[in-house]
Symmetry: C2
DNA sequence: TTGACATGCAATAATTTTATTGCATGTTCG
DNA sequence: CGAACATGCAATAAAATTATTGCATGTCAA
């Protein structure tokens, strides 16, 4: 099985995963998909401890989307966010597994 | 199988992987372990395109070591670097696989 | 011992990332 | 229609990351 992904894409994904707030968003979005920006902000406040502004969350979501990790749609005035795990799997294929699976002691 | 890793450790690992220079260092160190700082600098110059200062490389190595990804030893005046992939595997266990393996369509 | 070598340490500069603020736009509901 | 709502856009501030420079320390080898 073969995946195609250039360095820039891979880089965007790794960068997207570098921030704990974004990883938390990914976690929550996986637990419950199709959340609005407001819902995501609410989660963030409820769990994260520190309350980020809506714009901060928006910027994090932008980075996730830029890395191709998000599927976004609109329902009226509401923006709906869900995960797209495919790029994550591709990144794992071409990088992570290379280091984690080769030469593993059984 | 159970792994123990706190949020800080996980965060250091993800941050360490966020930079392309560091990922390249990991790649090269995997191809050829037990390299000195100078060797790593030389590689970086030879391959990376942009020539970083020795100190820049040192700082990158520090971050990798801080994330527990490096095994360092001394031979006289020479510092020897090798990878320690165990933390990477642990990080994959508690985070990556959760998202990548669950709910995979077969 | 001395000079070249391999590296460390510390300060600072340059760049990027993260967060905030204020205002603007389109949508729903009464 | 008009008010509350959900979000966007843009500028800027704050903080963190990345890279550089200069000097210091310990080691090897002639």
């Amino acid at each position: 099985m073969f995946v195609a992904m250039n360095d820039d894409e891979l880089d965007r994904i790794f960068r997207a995963l570098a921030d704990p707030t974004r990883r938390k968003i990914i976690d929550r979005l996986r637990e419950q998909p199709d959340q609005s920006l407001f819902q995501i902000c609410a989660m963030s406040v409820a769990e994260g401890g520190k309350a980020l502004s809506r714009q901060a969350i928006t910027q994090h979501l932008d980075m996730l989307q830029n890395a191709g990790l998000l599927h976004v749609s609109w329902s009226g005035r509401t923006k709906i966010h869900s995960l797209d795990l495919k790029p994550l799997r591709e990144a794992a294929d071409i990088w992570f597994r290379k280091h984690l699976l080769e030469g593993e002691n059984p």
